[in-house]
Symmetry: D2
């Protein structure tokens, strides 16, 4: 940590800071510039909040962190890249993970039909929501356990492992029984109670970035899961909230190389939520592969115009099939396979 | 809902939209302009997602909502202003609700001391965290039930009702036993499972605005609580996330008159999280009263420089006391009392 | 500047940084932590870009600035507060500067009528646009010199000094002849050519904050004007761009105490652009006075429903009159007068 | 335009709106829903501000635009894609436009050396700044005309056409003499005076998106240039300002397909400013090609660690050369050539 004193801070205020740093596990080092004094507090990060609280002193201008706050998620901790295995699918390896399916599970026929379609086009994981986080309490909230059963039936029919969202710590046991990958949605990225619960499980967790979560905060949320013992975390960039209204969110593709520079965890991209309009999904899916993502999560619906949710951002199976063909040469260009 | 067709959309695409609207409970009304056709879908909002999904059609340019999505939270539903009562304190009435206390409960002596100080200065509710949502799993996570007991002791010692945060649906029963007001933090504003749980309780809920939650989305989160039967919801503006880094968040004081125009629920302002620096807290607290807030939530700590969390944004009791004196004439100027 | 090396950076990379710092006017000071080495570069800021470019080196993680970048605008440079004088009006003194008038000058009768109305209510400066920055080239662009003449006539009729916007370096001489204060609009806050031109004038400049300008960047724009010799700069907070759509912009009232902590320049607040809706203007105007602003800039129009621009955010003269009466006790509460 | 009345608006308020719409060139059409009345105002957009000003009426809840505001920039106006020609380089055709070079022109040897390097790697346009928009007045402001002469010498030496920034209407004639493409920087995207000036020229304009400019506003800025007669506008996405601090800006690659859906103008992407760190430039450059951009603008410097500006985001010539080789198969995958 770097404690920046105000210009003209008297000597006794510098000494007070030194004394308070010494009361922690940090060591102070003083640097006097022509205009301002800077005190470096060297330590291992555990009492970071104590050093941060020095900002409350009158003559302290700002406290700046130096160390990255994550440990288990950090590239420095784990050699190479983490590969998450789900049955015979590897996420983070050479082959891209393609998660496709409807926003919501709406019925047995719907989910099995779409599962067959996306498998045929080359998807290797089936997505579908049974518990839906909706802005309005009056919107369709998902089919709950009935939906989970339909997902399991679709897995049986196609062999595709499934990923579905968990919203409530009380439902962890239920969802665990049915799913292969548990998804933590964007709105729960800092639901620390839920993160701790899924951190105790032995199934992979797909952790979506929050609407206004910085990349470092997102990695800290991954750290919550890792710290509980579950090392199988898949990151998912799905767009952040900005002033732009032409798209539902602003897909932050730079998050892929930035996250990869900082963490060993795999990262996939969701261009459906990232853009909000099917018209833009294919272009952004191709860009996501080119930028180095380990996979994609794409909403596919056979009748998007009557979907219970997110119809506007769902590809029809045929368009998804074309996209998969278009992605192949780009994947190859960046050393990946489908 | 307004369905805007693309310029040059053929007649059969207009007819397809009309047919699909008629399959729902909405009624279509067509308006043909010189350049574009617009179809108004008149209905009561229950099948809103169905109309929204029409955006997936090739010749539909955009679907625009007209009706405000909230019902129970809406000014149109309830006459006058909702006043939330906690013992003899009224939130939303003429007298301002002043919630003050430390970010975290750190010890018995600390919390009782601060409670006495803030009461003496005129606070009428004690705040303090026992379960702390922290970005890092390695930061102080709160004293949990031990902290709740200390809060209860401070209430006993001072008579001040208490407000404390709940993070996990599993802890609702525990926190319920001790607290007078349950706080839903900014990161859980769209934790819909938790909202539904506290919606079943008979104690008031203080619902903080999320870091990137629009005012309408925030009211929809309140609607989740109201829809479960709990009508005692207090809104709390605490700053939103923007590009500005000179403050921890950007306190959105316009949210007060905007929310008051749309809802009957009371709204308080938290200038501590809103700014992140005690140096700016008093100015923004005064502005919050002037803008029409029903109360304030302010972090007060006797030794902010060694606080376990958020020291930089905590006022010392003496500064809080001065602030209360400065607020009095502003409160009077806008027809309120302390 | 603080140069943070990556964990595990080899000794020769540290030495390379030291060598490159020594090639500039900065002096390096090395601090070795358990995990990371940090090199403080002590200097006076003139070759800042050179130190920043060290971030391009492989083993450098980040370069952090320590010194605030502004000099003439800084509180450390000038003792006390700058008071800008326009005829007998002082901006930054005890009495609040109240700038009121229409968005656009639309006609002689309109501007003189409104000028008389706002003067009667207590405004001491008349605002009105003759050159209008409009998003669309097809929107009303202002009456240009004709509008300036009408403003001058309104000044003659009422004695109120006038403030009007300048957009083009080529029009500086023209606008200079007519106006008392020159306004640089939000979209030109980093139009450095224009800033340099008005920096050479001897009339006060009102510098609006940009839609996505940090407070420090805004003060650097003020620095451009000050550095050319014009010391009469008035800052104007007018809302920043965020994700919230219920208001036109998000008025950042914390910018007032933050700016006042960093600069000696006076700062006024524009709640009309800040909110975009007249319904919210009065509440935010009161908050602006309570937060410590040196004045207000408010759009007033006699017939907002047929205004050429910004009708939705304009107060009618009667509402403005009520607002002025409501502001008086708040001004008094914070030690100001109207 | 859609005028949404408040729930419960009395009949006379509806009639007032109808009357005021009839005073303009718009025609009103009334739609009465169960809860709210909506009035569609059908017209051609010229008196849009007049309809917008109806929002000032007490019983009007919101005025929503329907028509896209741009005309000449619109896909509906021009058939096919606009291809901008600069000597024998086509921007917007099958072959990608690769603009590369240093942030600032720093000296004759530097610019000619880099020009030769980037040409050898496959760049077809040379970029370099002679007038630099810098946040601080104390930073290097560019070599001005001397820099323009060096650029011209580099063109002579390599045959590459050049693109350089223009900041001041007064310097248009000067820059025009030397450059092949004139760049309007992000900070001047709504400097309407400058846009009008360059709209009168017969050389292509590269128009960067502003830091907080929506895609539609950006297209309206292009419309300013087109409306003056200059039809050779190249759009350049260069990142927008968000809360994320790991990158300098957030590169919005969805802007490419969104803009392409709305306009016939070509669009290139600048991943150097978009990310701010050379480490991420290559990944985003590849993504930009995959998403469908018509070209790239990339900062290349032979000694970034001592660059006068933006060293951290500049690629060394060797890295640029590798990037060009990596881009080739991606370009091919999306039907483009280098």
């Amino acid at each position: 940590m770097i404690v920046v004193m105000k210009p003209g801070a008297p000597e006794e205020s510098v000494e007070e800071v030194i004394r308070l740093i010494k009361e922690t596990s940090y060591q102070p080092h003083v640097l006097r510039g022509a205009l301002q004094t800077v005190i470096a507090a060297v330590g291992d990060g555990r009492e970071k909040s104590r050093i941060e609280s020095l900002e409350s002193l009158n003559y302290v201008e700002r406290v700046l962190p130096i160390l990255k706050p994550f440990k288990l998620a950090s590239r420095e901790t784990v050699e190479g890249d983490t590969i998450v295995k789900v049955n015979d699918v590897e996420i983070g390896g050479k082959r891209l993970a393609i998660m496709a399916g409807p926003c919501s599970v709406e019925g047995m026929e719907q989910i099995i039909g779409i599962a067959r379609d996306v498998k045929q086009s080359g998807a290797n994981i089936l997505r579908g929501g049974a518990f839906k986080p909706r802005t309005s309490p009056y919107s369709f909230q998902g089919l709950a356990e009935e939906g989970l059963k339909m997902l399991a039936a679709a897995r049986e029919a196609t062999g595709l492992p499934i990923v579905t969202e968990i919203m409530n710590p009380r439902e962890v046991d239920l969802v665990y029984q049915y799913t292969d990958i548990m998804q933590i949605g964007a709105r729960n990225v800092q639901n620390f109670s839920l993160l701790k619960e899924v951190g105790k499980l032995d199934k992979p967790i797909l952790l979506k970035r929050g609407l206004s979560t910085t990349i470092d905060e997102w990695l800290m949320s991954a750290e919550y899961i890792l710290a509980e013992g579950n090392r199988n975390v898949i990151l998912c960039e799905r767009g952040i909230r900005t002033f732009e209204t032409a798209t539902r969110n602003t897909l932050d593709l730079s998050a892929v190389p930035v996250a990869k520079a900082r963490t060993h965890l795999p990262i996939v991209v969701d261009p459906s939520h990232g853009t909000g309009y099917w018209q833009y999904v294919s272009a952004l899916a191709k860009a996501a592969v080119a930028v180095g993502a380990d996979g994609l999560m794409i909403e596919v619906h056979n009748k998007p115009e009557i979907a219970f949710s997110d119809g506007a951002q769902s590809l029809k199976p045929k368009k998804f099939d074309i996209l998969m063909k278009e992605i192949a040469p780009i994947a190859e260009a960046v050393g990946r396979t489908l």
